[in-house]
Amino acid sequence: MIERVSGVALNTFRESIRDKVLITLIIFAVLVMGSSRVIQPLALGEEAKIIKDIGLSAITLFCVLISILVGGRIVYREVEKRTIYIILAKPVRRWEFILGKYLGLMAVLVVSQVVMTAAFYVILLVLGVGAPLYLMLAVLMTLFELVILTAVAVLFSTFSTPITGAVFTFAVYFVGHLSRDLKLLAAMSPSPVVKAVSYFLYYILPNLGNFNIRPEVVYGAPLDPSALLLSVLYALVYTATLLLISAAIFNRKEF
């Protein structure tokens, strides 16, 4: 089983690493981080924090884009190009294929994050604004956000086209960051329909706001370790559920 899942994962990794979209996104991320110096004069003594915030945000944004753009077509492409015929004719179970695709993409995201974070630290050192290691905690929490988001992208990829999948995944990302507002809306809205829809979305969509600790890290606010651990556990359980649903959908699929 491990051989087959890792075989699919390695192929997905190779495919994505050799893809121009990925390289372009990583280059853009580094350019955005590097250009944060341009706004330095506007920042009035807050340069260091602004540069760190922009850098960490750029890492998150571009990794989210990679997850959505590459993840959104990851299964669809195999079906469209009929490479899936070759893979499923081997003794590969369908759930092994989904898991392999997911893990391959996560490996791509980890490598992308490592490259971007390394570039981020080089930029911090060059600009001489200090490069404390605890900034990496924000990157690590982003990784767990990507763990969920990539599973969402893979799920959509099993039944929709890349564009539709990307739009839906982005919608989940967007609404996932408004979780707290959704709950508030549900509590305060007089309309039972709005209440019901808000509660439904609040409970079914992932709460991604919990993974954003950039302000705390950049501005030195205290962090609650147990809350972070809970978020990590939440990411793993949520992702496992999504992958099970993806495998079930893929299992019913006819080619």
Partner: protein, 317 residues
């Protein structure tokens, strides 16, 4: 000839209905198909384009499920990993990963087929040599021609040295030399005790190498059997060539023949059967001065057979 061993592929009363378009229009791709493929034979699955060949192959490969009926591979359901571990598959017009080199791709195929790591590299190199792909082994497949992709397709199907090889239109996109090589590979597989099931619409491939054929037309199985059984005895016509015929004798001969062709001092007389040949011989003896220089029976070819079935199906619909 019935085999005592379990059939390698067993398809029983299989039907497949697709629903397509907004109105969910019903398309019957396969209709009550039954066939068995025995161990060690080359089975040709023959039919015009759109007859349902690929649909049946997809069902046998577990890529699509039947609407009714059953398909078993090595006695197991097609999706069973244990069944897949014993077979290799080449899809129609195969397409592979652009970003992989030929060697990487075959390595992936070997890994997914559970070929032991110690054997994989040697197996891959051997296949690249067999298919004359050594010089392109470390080139990304994005620039491969149709023929090269077809070779890669057969290579990945054979990487685990499977007992059964299923090939969907394997000769498509190949030049005459490539077709000959593919036929040699298929025959060699049978000689090594493997079973080959392949679909095609090219009759000559089937006539040259198949032990048995199944003919599918518009989703129905028109015939399954040994080629010799399907084609034997059916002498369609006999061509008799005679020399030294005069105008008067020619007229007499034309009366017993289907048609005649005069070429120099030779007359080619086409007749229906042996009885008419006897009549021609008698006429020649009676008239004198006429020599019979050739008698060629024309047996029914697979093409004639195939066309007759297609025409019959066309009339029926």
């Amino acid at each position: 000839m019935a085999s005592l061993s379990e059939p390698v592929i067993s398809v029983t009363r299989l039907s497949k209905v697709y629903r397509s378009g907004l109105r969910m229009k019903r398309v019957q791709a396969l209709n009550d198909i039954s066939l068995e493929v025995e161990k060690g034979e080359i089975f040709g699955f023959l039919g015009p384009n759109g007859a349902g060949k690929t649909t049946l192959i997809k069902i046998i490969m577990g890529l699509t499920d039947p609407t009714s009926g059953t398909a078993l591979v090595f006695g197991r359901p097609p999706r069973d990993a244990a069944a897949k571990a014993r077979l290799g598959f080449l899809p129609e017009s195969p397409y592979f990963y652009d970003h992989l080199t030929a060697r990487e791709f075959l390595g992936l195929a070997a890994r997914l087929s559970a070929v032991p790591k110690s054997e994989a590299a040697g197996r891959v190199t051997g296949l690249l040599r067999l298919l004359r792909m050594e010089t392109s082994a470390d080139v990304q497949m994005r620039g491969f021609s149709r023929g090269m992709l077809q070779r890669m397709g057969i290579a990945q199907a054979l990487v685990a040295d499977p007992e059964l090889v299923v090939l969907d239109e394997p000769m498509g996109g190949l030049d005459p030399i490539g077709r000959k090589e593919f036929r040699d590979i298929i025959v060699d597989l049978r000689d090594r005790g493997k079973t080959v099931f392949f679909s095609t619409h090219i009759l000559s491939d089937v006539e040259m190498i198949c032990d048995r054929v199944g003919i599918v037309i518009e989703g129905r199985m028109a015939e399954v059997g040994r080629l010799s059984e399907i084609l034997t005895g059916d002498v369609e016509s006999i061509e008799v060539t005679v020399k030294g015929v005069t105008g008067k004798t020619q007229k007499i001969l034309e009366r017993v023949s289907q048609h005649t062709i005069k070429s120099g001092d030779e007359l080619l007389v086409t007749v229906k059967g042996e009885e008419e040949v006897d009549k021609i011989m008698a006429i020649c003896r009676e008239v004198g001065g006429i020599r019979v220089v050739g008698i060629v029976p024309h047996r029914r070819t697979l093409e004639d057979y195939f066309m007759a079935h297609v025409a019959k199906a066309g009339r029926a619909s």
